[in-house]
């Protein structure tokens, strides 16, 4: 279990997701990586039923990661950006089924990232296509460096690796998840979260990154559909690549 970084890959115009995945897999295989199975990360969201007193509705996200098959990850979002996370046994899913009185499942927003898994020395690279209810949303690339557990020690190497096989520029700063983020705390003030690039990396961090990316994909749906009110207030910072990348045509060698 090492440092894992998620990199959304911007889709160029005119090319389908399957073509991109195929293209990237060929590049990885020619580099010398070996195909090592499939992976799946999925996320299901439960919204709490509206209560008296006008308390904001809370969302419970339940995620699974095939890299940790014995665990179920769960994150509670209470609308102000504060998240409470939990790692539990797989039996947690059955527990959620019992909670239908308090939480309603929103099947429409079940989102997953699925694809092939490649092992290349100390790296594990996963090319995932993100789908929500059978609609293709984008491509997420996950890269894990197994030998290191602190991002600041190996960020440069991961960046070099990514640039090498993706063929696109990766910004020098740490990914958004690892830098300081501002959230609204309970009193309505902005509060800076502690920067994570010097902390020990945990499997929960991978899952939180996935949740962040999935939420972005969901918001794009909302924006495209017609601006239906968002489900929850998200952190103010948006990862620059996911928005900017959509419009920029990538000139690749």
């Amino acid at each position: 279990m090492g440092v894992t970084v998620l990199q959304p890959y911007p889709l160029p115009e005119g090319k389908s997701g399957a073509y991109i995945i195929d293209h990237l897999s060929k590049r990885l295989l020619s580099l010398g990586a070996t195909h090592a199975g499939q992976f799946l990360v999925d996320c299901e969201t439960f919204i709490s039923t509206p209560q008296h007193g006008g308390a904001p509705s809370r969302a419970v996200h339940v995620l699974h990661n095939s890299e940790y098959p014995a665990s179920t990850f769960s994150i509670i979002d209470n609308g102000t950006g504060k998240q409470v996370s939990l790692v539990a046994d797989n039996i947690f899913d059955l527990l959620m089924l019992k909670m239908t009185a308090t939480f309603a499942s929103k099947k429409q927003t079940k989102i997953e990232s699925r694809g092939a898994r490649f092992e290349y020395g100390d790296f594990v690279i996963k090319l995932g296509s993100v789908t929500m209810m059978e609609h293709f949303k984008g491509i997420l690339i996950e890269i894990e460096y197994k030998s290191c557990v602190i991002l600041s020690y190996c960020w440069e190497m991961i960046r070099e690796m990514l640039q090498g096989f993706l063929g696109m520029q990766v910004p020098k700063d740490y990914p958004n998840y690892f830098t300081t983020q501002t959230i609204m705390n309970a009193m309505g003030q902005q509060q800076l979260l502690h920067a994570k690039h010097n902390d020990l990396y945990e499997p929960m961090d991978t899952v939180k990154q996935y949740l962040e990316q999935f939420t972005n994909y969901r918001k794009h749906v909302n924006v495209h559909v017609g601006g239906a009110a968002g489900v929850s207030v998200q952190p103010i910072h948006m990862p620059p690549s996911s928005i900017v990348g959509v419009g920029v045509g990538m000139g690749r060698p």
Partner: protein, 645 residues
Amino acid sequence: MSANSVNISVETTCENQIREIGYDGTELYQPPPTLSESLAKCAARIDFSKTSLDDLKKEEKSATEAEESRDKDGNQFQESLWPWDAVRNKLKDAFTEICVLSDVISIAKDKRYLVLDPLLEDGDDTKPIVQVYSRKKAISQAAQVLLGGAERLRNAHSEQRSRNISDFHIELLRLRQNWRLKKVSNAIIGDLSYRTAGSKFNMSGTFEVTKAEELADDDQLQGQNSSSSSSSTANGMPIKAASALRVIVPAELQGVAYIKVITQKDQEDLCSAQVNLMGHGPNITAQVGVWQKTLEFAQNVLFCKELFAQLAREAIQLQAPIPHVVIGNQIRATLLPNIQLIISLCHSTTFDSSQPAPINDHDHVLEHSLHQLLREVHYKNSHHPFPHPSSAPLGPSKKRMMAGPMAADRETLMDMTKSQTILEQIIAQAQHIFMRKRTQYVLDTLARDVKDPQIVSHWNAMNSPTMSCVKINIVTHGYDAIGRTSLVIHVKERSLKCICRDGRVMRLSYEPQELRDLILCQINSHQISCLVSLARCMAWTVLSNSNHLGIGKVEPLGNASSCLLASPNGDRMIAVQIRCDPQIDVKVYIAKSPRQDFFPNPLVPEKLWENLGGSFKEVRFDKIEGKSFLNKMEFLMASLTSNTA
């Protein structure tokens, strides 16, 4: 009944008493008393002591009764009698008794047929002396009973002490303290198997306990001794008294068994081991009797049989590159090419007093390991980790239960499912023992043969059954502070891993030659690196050094290393080349500047070119004074350093 009249109903108010209120609020009313009940109520109020009024009331009552009874039907009349019936009977009885009493008194007054005599009163209390006598008699009778019992006990006790043979029951008590016994109909059956400790072996380990036969005369006594204390003759000690009980063990568990483990290399014994649960020598205390040893031997036989059966089963099921061979009571497994591990079950049922002494050079470690491995299997069978929470399934180990909340990844989960059989484990341990012995042998012979830098090896005191570590220091005597080459070698089951000080990791196979070559190469580089440090101490300049010199003949082993030194004032140069083919071969050359043999010639006319050094002359290094290479180099450098500034 005319249309204008109004029907009026008159009802009593329902003022009945509530008898009971149901749980749902319904009220049960006591029905109003029937007329007969009210009559009984009134009759009960009659006080028969008042006679004058009684008759009056009686007449009244009877009158009302007659009135009412006429209104009712026959049944009612009958029922109204019942409350009176008791009263009437009682009156009748009383009247009868009074009549009888008056008759008796009148007859007694006549004194012709009946006389009344006064009752004799009891006399005064008996005299105290009578009481004393009666109590004394009672107590003496009780004393008689107690004395009789005590006499009997004393007789039994003295009888016991006079006999040499201990009581059956005492022996049984001792037996029961050590072994599990139970009574089945008339016989006493015991269990010496490991079933309650977690074993799943089919062979039953039940034995029977019986009383020893009565001893008629001395000959029979001797015969009894030899037959019932059969296993004790192994000690050579004569047992004076046979025990009062005899244990009968099943035929297949009689005798003595042990498991012999031998590592064989091409028919030669390298090391051997013996599994034997018994302590050697006369450890058995005489107090517990001869049956203890019999039972312990039988239990040992059972344990060895179970162990061997388990190993044989695994040997057949396991897929090894060279298949294991099971013949009769022997299992052959291959550890390394030409090295075999032979495990055999030796079960001897004949009791010869000259039992062979245990093999003196056997290895206790493998013996103990086999014993521990089977006990570990037993333990896992009987102890299951308790799940937290208690509703979780019973079965997965604690590590597996924590794998979910701790986000264990796939490799960890896969590793949890792998488990090794006893045979695999003992093969791994035997392989490791063999590798360790071989590595020790290589290091020791190298340390003996190579005198110049000294090879010091420190083995870790703590190691696991399948891995040991050794740290090797290569130092030159007298120059420890100058430099030292260290490396760590991890000895595993079939391979070695060598980690050098600069971080290089090399993996070697089980061939001893590879380790030897590695150490020789390390010696090579040690000499040069120490020489470089020594030169600095002597103020000589290191012009260049190289660990992988690519000149000269191709070396059969490693690479040649070299070093080029210049004296403090630059007029002398030393070139050293060390090769490894396979003895360490040192060549030293020196050059002088200015050259002695430079003569100006038309091609190179100026005299100043004599300062260009370069003609090296070889030094007969073996003739130089000095205990070691570094010592000789130090002397050489010292002699070549000139005084001029």
